[in-house]
């Protein structure tokens, strides 16, 4: 018992099995019953099921404490097998259990929610070892990543190899691949809703770990027992510590590390009011002494107030800020300069949830976000030969209001239907230019700070339905429209800290996606096994690409180099999961395509998007061997990446130049990899718990293609050759974790 609120715990009335509900993101639930005596059951994976007899005469508030069950003895607990996945109309949703994540093997033993997510059907890695991901054929910037409701603009460390989410500090992870409820908006492809731990309200606990790459420490404790508590969690890498031993002094002056700090505090003012304050701060730093410096990072802060108007009406009010920025410094004598760029949000959200009766659950609210993008400011000392340049800031105001109803129609049909009205106003304060199709400027108008340059208004219908065939089978359908007003400009296939965010403008219009999906859900053996099949089709408009040869560095007129087109993605996702027992795990298979069309690329014909990987298979197995060992393994297989190969070459100024064929018309070799992990838990029953995690990444040392380069053969300059680079061979790692 920690006093931590649980998200998605299931509440069931034994006498009325059809009436189940689940706790919301703040641990709140509401259930309507006729007067009488009932047995209520509350269950949550990893916790002992709670049963209580309740006598219903009037509205009543029941707070429930669940006890954490010992991880390894869970097999003997006959807890309720949940079938929400079948009953609920929501589809395209995946939840990650934080307890599972710690056993799944990952690169360098750094457990990472973003990499574990990539093992689910429909979610693909943006590149090996990369925390960027593609959902249902969409780009990495089309994922809305929320940490305690604050958007995180660059969710990766060390040029993409680690995510910014220190899993010690994370309580719950939910990803929506489609059919997003109306309270979410702003990105085309997915919503990743991550909630931090609130902090132990009962007693002080310490948790940490020492790994190959980083060390972590988390402290949780009550300020006032049962009323107020805090959590603080930190992580820092130390790869650069080894540089201190380097033989030459200039290497010793190099820095290279990242750190994360997550903190959260809560205070229960009274029965009806709770406030939460949470924040994240992370930074990467790298530099070479007297030559070069580079740092980047995110900062987010969320202040939330939960208020219970009544047992049926719950509200959450959040004040949120988020900032991402980077600085590059050139320290070379005579050419010194620094480039600084940032994106900053201030956000007010007000959400209500109203349990109208046992047939209707309403959600409604509004959302206001003020965005400021500083695309780049170049500063230099007067002795430098580099001039100072300031590119105009851009700001925008994003407003949205939504309403959604989760309704039960008869015994078998359930619906979630809602509407989101969103607007985006481009705010003045600078010169706004328009460009024609050739990238030639056609107008330039100055707008004062108080002016609205342009407003885009969009209506986003959301609809999901489930029809229950019997207790363990259902069919579902959904339709979603999503609108995206911020766009990430990236020329490379890997994520880079210097990727540039732009917002809607006179030239760039909101990206819009329409997605329909259908699914079949079937649980077997008393919900021990889950099977689902979903098909989807998604069309995307106002997609953005660069013209050839665009120079992105501090480019005042980057919009002149943008071209706009359409996208489509479709596929089939199969998922089979064994949730309980000594052995659990899942198999996911995705068959999908993702394509784009731009007038200026590939003669306007549809071409394969870089997110396209037709076949994708993930296998995850976790086995509790004996009392103390947990063994696990993952295997992934996917089609190679869509890439562009040359179809000819020519010679210019003594150099070999390649002439490239159809955009993404070729494919690299297939990708596959096996990872293994073994965790030795400490002896049970002690206050001080420690565990050892041993893992092997790429167990059979497959050389998966990362990039293919074409060049002159260094041994015979009269010939050319193709060279494939593989990043990671077999990599063993070990981590020691403790908790007390």
């Amino acid at each position: 018992m920690t006093g931590e609120t649980l998200i998605g715990a299931s509440i069931r009335i034994v006498e009325l099995p059809k009436l189940g509900t689940a706790t919301n993101s703040y641990g709140f639930y509401s259930i309507s019953l006729a007067e009488g005596i009932y047995n209520m059951e509350v269950s949550y994976i990893g916790y002992t099921t709670f049963t209580k007899q309740i006598v219903v005469i009037s509205d009543e508030k029941i707070a429930i404490d669940l006890t954490e069950s010992n991880n390894l003895s869970e097999v003997v607990i006959t807890s309720i097998r949940r079938n929400e996945n079948v009953i609920k109309p929501q589809m395209g949703i995946e939840k990650l259990n934080i307890k599972d994540i710690q056993h799944i093997p990952v690169l360098f033993g750094e457990k990472d929610i973003l990499k574990t997510l990539q093992l689910l059907p429909g979610i693909k890695s943006a590149g090996e070892g990369n925390s960027g991901f593609y959902v249902r054929g969409g780009a990495t910037d089309q994922n809305l990543i929320l940490l305690d409701e604050a958007p995180v603009y660059n969710a990766s460390h060390l040029l993409g190899f680690f995510s910014t989410f220190n899993s010690d500090a994370i309580k719950d992870v939910t990803v929506y691949k489609g059919g997003m409820p109306a309270q979410y908006g702003g990105r085309l492809s997915s919503v990743l809703d991550i909630r931090m731990n609130d902090g132990n309200k009962k007693e002080a606990t310490f948790e940490g770990g020492i790994g190959l790459i980083s060390s972590r420490l988390k402290v949780e404790a009550p300020f006032i027992k049962d009323k107020s508590s805090f959590m603080i969690s930190g992580r820092r890498t130390y790869a650069d510590s080894f540089l201190a031993f380097a033989p030459d002094t200039s290497v010793r002056g190099s820095i290279l590390y990242f750190y994360d700090l997550n903190a959260k505090a809560n205070y229960q003012i009274d029965e009806k009011n709770v406030i939460y304050l949470s924040g994240y701060f992370g930074r990467d730093r790298l530099g070479l002494r007297d030559t070069f410096g580079f740092n980047w990072g995110n900062a987010t802060g969320t202040l939330r107030w939960n208020h219970f108007y009544s047992n049926r009406l719950f509200s959450n009010t959040s004040l949120i800020m988020s900032k991402y920025d980077y600085t590059i410094e050139n320290l070379q004598n005579g050419n010194e300069f620094a480039v600084n760029s940032s994106i900053k949000d201030f956000n007010l959200k007000h959400d209500f949830s109203l349990a109208l009766n046992d047939k209707h659950d309403l959600k409604f609210g509004f959302d206001a976000i003020h965005h400021t993008i500083a695309p780049g400011q170049l500063t230099s000392p007067s002795t430098s030969s580099i001039n100072a340049i300031k590119i105009e800031n851009r700001s925008g105001l994003e407003l949205a209001a939504y309403i959604s109803d989760e309704a039960k129609v008869g015994d078998k049909l359930k619906l979630i239907y809602g509407l989101r009205l969103s607007s985006f106003s481009v705010l003045g304060g600078g010169n706004f230019k328009t460009f024609n199709n050739d990238g030639i400027q056609t107008s330039s108008t100055y707008y004062a700070k108080s002016d609205i340059v342009k407003t885009y208004l969009n209506l986003e219908p959301r609809f999901a339905a489930s029809f229950q065939l019997d207790d363990s089978k259902s069919v579902k359908a959904s339709y979603t429209r999503n609108v995206q007003n911020l766009h990430l400009m990236s020329n490379s296939i890997a994520t880079s800290p210097t990727d540039l965010y732009i917002m809607n403008s006179l030239n760039t219009k909101p990206e819009i996606a329409n997605q329909i999906s259908f699914g079949y859900f079937n649980n077997f053996k008393e919900n021990n096994y889950e099977f689902s099949a979903e098909v989807y089709y998604k069309s995307m408009s106002n997609q953005i690409e660069y013209r050839n040869g665009t120079d992105l560095r501090a480019n005042q007129n980057v919009e002149a180099d943008l071209i706009y087109g359409e996208g489509r993605a479709y596929g089939l996702e199969l998922f089979f999961k064994k949730k309980y027992g000594r052995f659990n795990g899942w198999i996911g298979y995705t068959l999908s395509r993702s394509e784009r069309t731009f007038d200026l690329i590939n003669d306007g014909n549809w071409f394969t998007a870089r997110q396209d990987r037709p076949h994708d298979i993930s296998l995850v197995g976790i086995y509790k061997a004996g009392k103390r060992w947990v063994l696990s393994s993952t295997f992934v297989y996917s089609s190679g990446n869509a890439v562009t190969f040359p179809i000819a070459k020519y010679n210019l100024d003594g150099r070999t130049i390649f002439y490239y064929g159809e955009r993404n018309g070729n494919r690299t070799a297939d990708f596959h990899r096996l990872d293994l992990s073994a965790t030795l838990e400490g002896k049970p029953g002690r206050k001080f718990k420690s565990s050892w995690n041993f893992s092997v990444y790429n167990a059979y040392n497959r050389n998966n293609p990362f990039s293919i380069e074409f060049r002159d053969n260094p041994d015979n300059r009269t010939q050319t050759q193709a060279v494939q680079t593989s990043l990671f061979g077999i990599i063993p790692s070990v981590t020691w974790n403790f908790k007390f």
């Binding site: 000819a648 070459k649 020519y650 390649f658 293919i708």
Partner: protein, 261 residues
């Protein structure tokens, strides 16, 4: 920057990255015409080189195109004819290009014409070429620094040709004044593989180029795989029309030489 990127990744996670030569079945295409020509403000015989593309598996080098008609026209009215001297190499009579003049080069091969236009920028003289030393990851390396005054208020682009002991480096050393317009520019030219050693004679020929030529050459450096994260390669936009590849540049030149100490 790209090199640093790779370096830091390698340091950061002690990559066990590995490279191997692979065999790919690449598609082929009908050969295209490739034209390469730089005319300058030097009183000299200018050249136009015409070749075709070849398959990836073919031997490197130019496949010459003979019997083409090559005509250079200045907007002021001057017309200069080129004659084929060796296969694929077409040479003019002596002519000094005029800064500020707009030139059109037209090449006709098998009744098909390809033309490109380039405006010769105003000349920018090199002030000096110096030797400096920089420390890069513990190695003290000898490099050269090119000093010149960038003309203020106008957009300038440069392509530096670097010769070491009279052997031309294949790299394009491109510069623009986007970040240093009107300044005393100290442009460090990195030369590696092999590094410069005492006694090397370094000659730098600074060519002013127009924006189209800069964009074309910049695109080439972007697709030439000099490390960094993989990008989607796209073919550079030639300033020739009708599908010819290559470029035509009217450039002023300035030269400086230094012997490495």
């Amino acid at each position: 920057m790209n090199k640093l990127y790779i370096l830091f990744i390698s340091l950061a996670i002690m990559l066990s990255s590995c490279d191997k030569v692979i065999d790919l079945k690449l598609k082929q295409m009908e050969p295209k015409i490739v034209i390469e020509s730089v005319i300058t403000d030097l009183n000299t015989r200018h050249t136009v080189i015409i070749s075709t593309t070849t398959n990836f598996e073919s031997t490197n080098g130019k496949v010459p195109v003979s019997k083409a008609t090559v005509v250079l026209k200045a907007a002021g009215g001057t017309t200069i004819n080129f004659t084929e001297q060796t296969p694929g190499n077409y040479v003019s009579s002596r002519y000094r290009g005029i800064p500020g003049e707009k030139y059109t080069l037209t090449v006709t091969v098998n009744d098909k014409s390809y033309s490109a236009t380039s405006v010769m920028p105003l000349p920018v003289p090199i002030k000096s070429l110096d030797q400096i030393e920089i420390s890069f990851l513990g190695n003290v390396r000898k490099v050269v620094q090119l000093n010149y005054n960038d003309p203020a208020g106008i957009v300038n682009f440069y392509n530096n040709r670097v010769f070491i002991n009279n052997l031309k480096r294949a790299n394009y050393y491109l510069e623009s004044d986007r970040f240093n317009d009107g300044n005393e520019v100290k442009n460090t030219i990195y030369i590696d593989e092999p590094d410069l050693v005492t006694g090397d004679v370094v000659r730098v020929q600074m060519l002013t180029i127009d924006e189209n030529v800069y964009k074309f050459l910049f695109s080439i450096t972007q697709i030439s795989g000099n490390g960094g994260p993989p990008t989607t390669p796209a073919n550079p936009n030639s300033n020739f029309n009708n599908g010819a590849l290559g470029y035509f540049s009217a450039s002023t030149t300035s030269e400086a030489t230094i012997t490495i100490k």
